[in-house]
């Protein structure tokens, strides 16, 4: 069934100002202020980092190994820093840091297709209300706004092209879309041509504001304020140009996170979080291992392991663990049964995801699958419950908070679900 939505409805009900200034004004901040760094941010100013393994990481080759069983695959499991808990041998560094992580091993979601599964999971699959819900990042951008840094609240570090991805925002409107950094590169046109000095740029912006002020006399403020806001934001981005260029990060950090795409992007994301971006998503593509699953995971997992471990170390070292929620997941796991291409297929029935950071009871394993991993052995959790959990972890009362689509109030997460209590500290 196609999602129920009315574009024109959404757009026409959306006031330009509410869309464009809501976050910034609510925070009472100047978008032109320099980025605040970790220690300057309020202790309760929570942030989120989402590591997204697009295509579907295998739970059997990661968090929920079933070694030496029919579907267990070739790899061993190894003990972790939590007594009695084992994970795949492909994640030795994470195993040492298991007490910092919380893992759900009994995820059960609906959709076995990428095209519909990805958006459903990233939206927390709320009950159908006839509107297009925002992705996690857009939702958080709306609910929490930018931090005091004034940096855009939702940045997406991904391979391939970058840009401003408004479609993630759903009915919230384009402002809540993602600023996508393709290959960790800065947005298009971020770099000012050499012939324009900073002074000259400031001057032309002041002139533009002058014209805007004159125009705004005896007109509703929205249009000029919206125009001013995007120029302010553009300048905020420019002032933090180095932040948007992963190549500028120290070599030794690249070593620690690993010189893979995922390592580079996770390092970049960590720096963006430190600089005060509210929500950062890192996407790694190519996890759809219908063929050669085991060699693929043998190649991929160590890269994820290394990046995730370096991230955990950095967050701990910098005292950010209690302020930043980290989630690592995909749209589903992979089938226990091994197909003729030595691959595993799409598996929403019983899969795993991991998290750490603020509000999360670390060192927890929630749920389990049966001996061969072919079904959940304990209460299954849908993604809606996890969205409630994550909202709770960053201090949003997900049972009561609402989005407004025009005048229509909408629950921010599936209204029939609630947080997974065992995951919350």
């Amino acid at each position: 069934m196609a999602e129920c939505q009315s574009w024109e409805h959404e757009l026409s009900r959306r006031s330009v100002l509410a869309g464009l200034l809501g976050g910034a004004v609510a925070g009472g901040l100047s978008p032109l202020s320099p980025p605040a760094f970790a220690e300057e941010l309020k202790q309760n100013d929570k942030q989120i980092l989402l590591l997204w393994l697009d295509g579907g990481m295998s739970q059997l080759e990661s968090w929920d190994p079933k070694p030496n069983t029919r579907f267990g695959g070739p790899f061993r499991s190894i003990p972790t820093s939590i007594p009695g808990v084992h994970i795949s041998e492909l994640m030795p560094l994470s195993a040492q840091r298991m007490h910092h992580l919380a893992v759900v091993r009994s995820m059960k979601t609906e959709d076995p297709n990428h095209s519909s599964g990805v958006p459903k999971i990233l939206r927390g699959h709320p009950a159908n209300r006839g509107v297009v819900y925002p992705y996690f990042g857009s939702a958080v951008a709306k609910l929490m706004g930018p931090t005091e840094s004034g940096l855009p609240p939702y940045v997406w570090v991904k391979p391939g092209n970058g840009g401003f991805i408004s479609t993630h925002a759903g009915f919230l409107g384009p402002k809540y879309g993602a600023l996508a950094l393709g290959n960790g590169k800065p947005p298009e046109n971020l770099v000012r041509p050499e012939q324009i000095t900073d002074e000259a740029d400031l001057e032309r912006q002041e002139l533009r504001e002058l014209f805007n002020r004159r125009y705004a006399e005896r007109r509703r403020a929205e249009f000029s304020e919206a125009n001013s806001y995007v120029y302010d934001l553009a300048r905020t981005l420019m002032k933090n140009q180095d932040l948007f260029d992963a190549d500028k990060l120290p070599e030794k950090d690249h070593e620690r996170y690993g010189k893979s795409e995922f390592g580079r992007h996770t390092l970049h994301a960590c720096r963006l979080i430190e600089a005060g971006v509210r929500f950062v998503q890192v996407t790694s593509y190519g996890w759809d291992t219908h063929g050669d699953n085991f060699n693929a995971h043998a190649s991929r997992m160590p890269k994820v392991d290394r990046a995730l471990s370096a991230l955990i170390d950095d967050l701990n070292e910098r005292g950010l663990m209690d302020r930043v929620l980290v989630v690592m997941m995909a749209e589903f796991g992979r089938t226990p049964r091994i197909n003729g291409s030595v691959g595993r297929d799409h598996w929403p029935n019983a899969w795993s995801l991991a998290m750490t950071g603020c509000g999360i009871k670390r060192g927890t394993i929630v749920g389990e699958t049966n001996a061969e991993g072919t079904d959940n052995a304990t209460e299954p959790y849908d993604i809606g419950s996890l969205f409630h959990t994550w909202y709770s972890a960053v201090g949003i009362e997900s049972a009561h908070a609402e989005f407004y689509n025009g005048t229509q109030p909408l629950p921010i997460a599936h209204d029939k679900m609630k947080p997974v209590a065992e995951l919350l500290s």
Binding site: E8, R13, L207, F211, Y215, A216, R219
Partner: protein, 551 residues
């Protein structure tokens, strides 16, 4: 059919409606209804001359006026110069281009371009084809008329599969037909009767859907075209709430149920399919034709109300019904009598859009200032007692930038002598100059919405800001080159004259005295870097709200 009942109620309300003398022209009756509804509220002033002229030009010609056009209009002392300007623009070659661009965006919502389709739209507005005829041409394949061959793109452009994982979205096409041609978004009635709007029934959606499920894209011709399969049985459906199997025959939005006509085996086709020639057959029973005729019938109120409301939105910046595609009894028009009047009059004038736009443009309502009345800054925008600011489309912004920076003038002046006798429309300039082609592409990429998102509201973006701030091609427009604005201004030694020229060219108006003084002072304080200062001013104006909205 509840939609039908709703329309009858509307018709009844019409009979009880105003006692305005029938002989009054439509624009006068519009103003009377708007003023009557807003009784007690002071309307905004009438727009100033340059405010009116820029707005009209953007609406009917799709671009700002040139400095010369503005100067000439301001100098014109004839009493009916506004009406003259309206007629001039409707007759100009800018008009079909503007309508082509406008309707391309309305109907295709940035799904992509098709040469044949654009040619069709252009031809339709060059010939001022009535709207009902345009819609019939879109829905019923007319492959024999070369000019109109591209009309099928409305359907075929939506019947494209985006790869194996995304099947052809026939429900999406069905929804768009309802939204764009009848003003009813039946999407939420796909799986069950609409939960909130009692007019929207699942049968309405399913009855429309089955017509398009019966359609196939033709592969035997080079232009976009569809063909129909044989339809022999009703559509089966059931609500996800009430799991009872139901059936329907094709349903016309706002119209009748079309009974399925069956024929004995072997006699189903007017033209049987030819496997050798790979030509599709033409069935005797064409649900698409029945839909096209039923939808565009003079009796179909939804059809008339939709186009009247959409054209009102184009000119006035806000629909009488909003959202534009939620026309139903629980979402009445802000001015119900007015919408009824517009729909009725447009129908009576055989859906002549040029006539309709002219009437709208002639109204005082259209010609009000967008500046709020001094006495009432809280005036409700839905009252239409003050003009609404409107988003500039990417196309309007592109053409206006070419004019404001003198780029169009520069390239025209640089035309080879042997071509000098030819007219140089803006689109011809783009055809001739690769730099403009790429600039236009970038403008569309930067300022248009993503595919399938209606362009309704003003949505400035950081992307666009960075583009105007830093793009090399954009900045080059502001550098002094033979025949462009920067060069002309640089040559002007009198700062007052310079500022007047700048304002006339970019903002299409004279500067106010305070602005004049301020700007002259700025130039004087930058004597040593005069050229740079002129460039700074021009950039700031291009990036300002005043330039990038239609006010």
């Amino acid at each position: 059919m509840l939609l039908r009942a709703f329309l009858i109620a509307n018709l009844l309300s019409l009979c009880l409606a105003s006692d305005i003398p029938a002989e009054e022209p439509l624009h006068a009756r519009i103003d009377q209804l708007i003023l009557a509804a807003g009784e007690g509220t002071t309307p905004a002033d009438s727009s100033g001359e340059s405010e009116f002229f820029r707005r009209l030009m953007l609406d009917l010609s799709g671009r700002i006026p040139t400095r010369e056009e503005t100067v000439a209009f301001l100098a014109d002392e004839s009493a009916d110069k506004r009406a003259q300007a309206i007629d001039r623009m409707l007759a100009s070659s800018d008009y079909p281009r503007r309508m082509q661009e406008l309707f391309h965006v309305i109907l295709m919502e940035r799904r992509g371009d098709d040469e044949n389709w654009l040619r069709f739209l252009r031809a339709a507005f060059e010939e001022n084809l009535p709207w009902d005829r345009i819609v019939r041409t879109i829905l019923i394949p007319e492959p024999d008329d070369e000019k109109f061959q591209g009309a099928g793109y409305f359907l075929t452009g939506r019947l494209i599969s985006e790869g194996a994982m995304a099947p052809v979205d026939v429900p999406g096409l069905t929804r768009d037909v309802g939204r764009l041609l009848a003003g009813v978004d039946l999407q939420c009635a796909q799986c069950h009767d609409h939960l909130e709007y009692e007019d929207y029934k699942q049968q309405d959606f399913q009855g429309l859907l089955m017509i398009f499920e019966n359609v196939e894209t033709r592969r035997d011709v080079k232009f976009p075209a569809v063909t129909e399969k044989l339809m022999t049985s009703p559509q089966q459906f059931q609500s996800v709430f009430v799991q009872e199997p139901r059936t329907t025959e094709p349903v016309v939005p706002g119209g009748e149920i079309i009974p399925i006509a069956t024929f004995p085996a072997g006699e189903e086709y007017l033209v049987p399919p030819d496997k050798k020639q790979r030509t599709p057959g033409v069935p005797k029973f064409s649900p698409l034709k029945a839909l096209a005729n039923g939808l565009t019938s003079a009796e179909n109120e939804l059809f008339a109300r939709n186009i009247a409301n959409r054209m009102w939105f184009v000119m006035m910046g806000r629909g009488l019904i909003e959202p534009l595609d939620l026309n139903h009894s629980q979402n009445p028009a802000s001015h119900p009598e007015l919408l009824d009047l517009l729909a009725r009059e447009l129908t009576a004038h055989q859906f002549d859009l040029k006539w309709f736009l002219r009437e709208l443009a002639l109204s005082e309502t259209y010609q009000r200032s967008s500046r709020l009345p001094e006495s009432d800054s809280q005036i409700d925008p839905r009252s239409f007692l003050v003009a609404q600011e409107k988003r500039l489309s990417a196309e309007q912004l592109f053409w206006s930038t070419l004019i404001a920076t003198g780029e169009a003038e520069r390239l025209r002046a640089g035309t080879k002598p042997e071509q000098a006798h030819e007219p140089h429309s803006l689109e011809q300039l783009v055809e001739r100059h690769a730099s403009l082609k790429s600039l236009k592409k970038e403008f569309l990429k930067t300022f248009a919405n993503p595919p399938q998102e209606p362009e309704i509201t003003f949505e400035p973006s950081v992307k666009a800001a960075l583009y105007l701030m830093h793009d090399k091609q954009v900045l080059e427009l502001l550098e002094s080159r033979e025949g462009n604005l920067a060069q002309r201004l640089n040559a002007q030694q009198d700062n007052r004259k310079l500022v007047e020229d700048l304002f006339l060219t970019v903002f299409s108006r004279m500067p106010e005295e305070a602005e004049l003084q301020q700007t002259v002072a700025y130039l004087e304080s930058h004597q040593s870097q005069r050229a740079e200062a002129i460039g700074q001013l021009a950039w700031a104006m291009l990036a300002s709200t005043e330039f990038c909205v239609n006010h």
